[in-house]
Amino acid sequence: MNEMVRELTYAQAVQEALAQAMEADERVFLMGEDIGVYGGAFQVTGDLVHRFGEDRVMDTPIAELGAAGVAVGAALAGSRPVFEFQFSDFATLAMEQIVNQAAKIRFMLGGKVSVPLVMRFPAGSGTGAAAQHSQSLEAWLAHVPGLKVVQPATPHDAKGLLLAAIDDPDPVMVFEHKLLYKTKGEVPAEPYRVPIGKAIVRREGNDVTIVATAIMVHRALEAAETLAGEGIAAEVIDLRTLRPLDKGTVIESVKKTSRLVCVYEGVKTLGIGAEISAMIAESEAFDYLDAPIVRLGGVESPIPYNPVLEKAAVPQTPDIIADVRNLVKGRT
């Protein structure tokens, strides 16, 4: 089989990036809960402890705040930590170190230091884990100047964005949707980088722009396929990075399609969709709009346990189809 069309799962792609980064740079090490012999709660680190040893694949105590601070201190003193939160929800325990320290140290110190820290956050709902293990908090962190926030949607980007994050001199927060870990896709074997701050057009179309993140990219693509059968050509943009936001790609698309739908799993209010909508309203693309902007986000509640309720709490493919259909219906 040709190596160039090799397929890996998303989780394998993340693991390969971690391994290649550690092989290339002895300063790189991993920290997290149960990432050693257990292999990580989602088996992302897998066997890495056997390849790189316990000093580079470090199990931490269950102490998110302290361990996050240890990662910040190690980054300041010349190491390159890659920190795994077991669930993104547990970032709430470590917000002090993420928001007050990692994000601000470079600025507070007048640019005299950098904090080359990567944090990985298994995020999102759909696993039946209920309200404290299913959140999408990426917009929280994207609100903080000093952090960079990426949300890879494919195995290819999971590897490329993680390697770019590890190279980056600033703290980069990597949100990985748990439902994507087992999805497969083409992943080149050699190390490569996907640039932070660049969105990508996943499907071209002239009738409506759908801006999506993480698993919503896949639902938007499914919706676009169905809509194509009805004569609606949707353009799907995978945002990939929340901060710094790639405004240009979204603006150019909206100027072309004149319609915008934002699809994201985080709670709808004050979320990513609000930022994209406002950004378009402030831009030259505003004059091109033929219809109100539509936001499709998570419901205004914690993620429920019951599977029917859980599914209803975040946008699903039929929701996207219905909203786009309504939006485009009135076109001239």
């Binding site: 105590p61 102490a63 010349g78 930590p81 002090e96 005299k112 960079k148 640039p195 710094p244």
Partner: protein, 343 residues
Amino acid sequence: MADTLDRSAAPAANLRPFYQRFSAAELKEALRRMYLIRRFEEGAEDAYTRGLIHGTMHLSIGQEASAVGSCMDLRKSDYITSTHRGHGHCIAKGADPKLMFAEFFGKEEGYCRGRGGSMHIADVEGGNLGANGIVAGGIPIAVGAALAIKQQKRDDVALCFFGDGASNEGAFHEALNMAAIWKLPVIFVCENNKYGMSVSTERSMAVAHVADRAASYNMPGQVVDGNRIEDVSEAVMAATARARRGEGPSLIECKTYRIRGHSKSDRNRYRTREEIEEWQARDPIGHFETELVAHGLLRDGEIAAIRAAAEGEIAEAIEFARNGTDPDPREGTRDVYTTLGAA
């Protein structure tokens, strides 16, 4: 400076480790730094009162022995992390008061180019990873710096200053546990000045001493008189040697007192005048002068000269700061990131 004084007043064999370890010149330098801290704090207070500095500040007058005593045995490549009450730590680690005052005045010439102010002064080249506005924020960071030291196979240490209040934070307990299980080269120096803002340690801690908490993390915990520089320094020397040998962290609790209020908003409603006066009588600088004179290491006339030099240096630093450059508001978002990626 040459060690010209006759040390016969106390035969070497009978000297305690502090006087064996440091030369007369080093001891005088320690006294000079204590004065420098005192004058720095007084100068800062004065500048604030005169409206030359905005914001707030946390003064460490009365705590100079723990700052200087802790740093005397450190190398430039050793790290410290500091607290919101961190001016003394900064000077003790060798920072330049000129650049510190420039930071206070918010000037480009300051340590943080005027972006950090009193609570974020750092001197990374000098091994000071920074003061911190969050109580206990620096403790895990010190442990992380020690982890990096170990990973890089250096024999440096990280010395972590914090207060009694910080020892009630979760970050303190999490960080000490990790330092202990990974045997990291950290020295935790608690400056117990009796109050976390207004709440006394009696009201906020179930144990009598912060050092008692070391037992939970299987590390040595020692209480010292934080106003006696020789006591502080000897405890830190032992802990530093242990850390450099790879034997892990230690906790030292310096019992001390802040003579001034918590910050500029403090109306001293939680303590008595008698208590403040009692601690003023135990002034760490006066104590050290008496010690040095008794050891024949300092002549009376030299005290006045060291004081005058410190006063001159602070006056010069304030003048330097007043004449500094104000940052350009157009550069307001500079240094939020090192690089800003593709967008």
